[in-house]
Point group: C2
Chain length 262, copies 2
């Protein structure tokens, strides 16, 4: 086990292998995405620009250690050192007989190999064209994200994030079920909720409720947060408008009669 | 239904609301991520730079239509027009009582609202600091990705991709089960597989198998692909090395005896 900024990372986390990356910025944002997902082993095959690369460091947003530890290789085959299973990420079908997994399924399969002590590597091609066929051949399995079929080509760092995210999620023991929502009534339009606040705050301004002025922002925020959290229905918003109007009318009437001060 | 580059997109897909985005590049890559995930409704609240923005167009990689259709608003509340449920994406805990969902659960909940004709909007804060508390207050629910706890701040376009991806995946009817792998034997190290190829290709070169020379690359590729696909075990690789060696030795012996020509 080594430590990546406080997070324990097993040495079995997949290696991210960028083949001929063109832009330093993309190497940096890919490293940032790796750090987000708890990945640490970055391998670069013939990056176009000089390495180390200042633009990569500028774009990595704190993932400097991953860039410093990154290893350079002359060929993709050399970069497979120490790895048992190779995955190739592609956005377009290749004329090759090869198993294809979605990122989610790949996350599960990667974890299964790790659980029995095997190491995985994932190949990502250059920005403009993706992987060469000669690199895809090296992989036992293809990973392809089933995105918008007419626009499925991901930015390099986005591709690293998507695969990293699914690997990360596949390793979490805790499964969080979606919040159960059972609502029979129509939810309010947010613009109507906001009009309700404005009405309420106008009326409260007149009463001096927000005095002193410096307390106003936090009072308004707390009030709005409470109502937003309530996830109001359309009927509830109309009801509240009635409440505000009624209270204000009584208040004005009492003011007029001199029962209360302004 | 409208068409986004050939893909039918319902008008109920979530609105992506970028609050005070700072860099045109990030607006462009966010639009690209939206297009990848079949999203089309982009709303910008007070972008720092002039709009339309050339850098956004340069970075959007074909998602020009989303940028052209993007709407500008002066305030976050104005940008909630026509929406029923608002989600705020945050990377850090806020001092507010509010439901928090992971992106995967959020994807399911967003789809459920759409299924009954309701529209969702998702707020994304500016690059440096994320959303203001005043914007988070507007949301009924927070979306927080359970990433590496010491480095969970995502690039703006990466955050859009992650939420978009989970929304997109939640809408797919087809669930693809991970490939079933039942292997009892240890997989080979890829470097050993490659040494095996080199051995085989060396021997085949001597036989003239690759003649004429221009056929060599595709013959090598097909051969290598077949073996890589086989996902060889360590024992199989050693076995194949033995096979190659044995065949070559017999061949050399027969050559020597003059039984076959060179």
């Amino acid at each position: 086990m080594k430590q990546t900024r406080g997070l324990p990372v097993t040495d079995l986390s997949p290696a991210i292998i960028l083949v001929e990356p063109q832009l330093g910025e993309n190497i940096g944002t890919a490293a940032r995405a790796m750090m987000n997902c708890g990945l640490s082993d970055l391998r670069l095959v013939n990056p176009r620009d000089v390495w180390p690369n200042e633009k990569a460091v500028a774009a990595c947003s704190g993932a400097d250690q991953i860039l410093e530890d990154a290893r350079l290789f002359d060929t993709t085959t050399a970069a497979l050192e120490g790895l048992h299973h190779i995955y190739a990420t592609t956005a377009r079908p290749r004329d090759m007989v090869k198993a294809v997994l979605e990122p989610r399924a790949a996350g599960a399969v990667l974890r299964r190999a790790e659980a029995v002590g095997q190491r995985n590597g994932i190949l990502f091609g250059k920005e403009a064209k993706g992987l060469h066929n000669d690199d895809v051949v090296l992989a036992g399995t293809i990973i392809e994200a089933p995105l918008n079929p007419v626009h499925n080509s991901l930015n390099l760092a986005q591709a690293v994030l998507l695969v990293g995210w699914e690997w990360w999620m596949a390793g979490r023991s805790e499964i969080v079920a979606p919040e159960v929502i059972a609502r029979e009534e129509a939810p309010a339009l947010q613009s109507d909720v906001i009009k309700m606040f404005e009405h309420l705050e106008r009326e409260l301004d007149e009463t001096g409720y927000f005095h002193p002025e410096e307390k106003r922002p936090s009072l308004v925020r707390n009030l709005r947060n409470m109502f937003h959290r309530a996830n109001m229905t359309d009927a509830e918003v109309r009801g509240m408008r009635g409440v505000i109007k009624a209270l204000s009318t009584v208040r004005r009437r009492r003011l007029k009669r001199g029962e209360i001060g302004d």
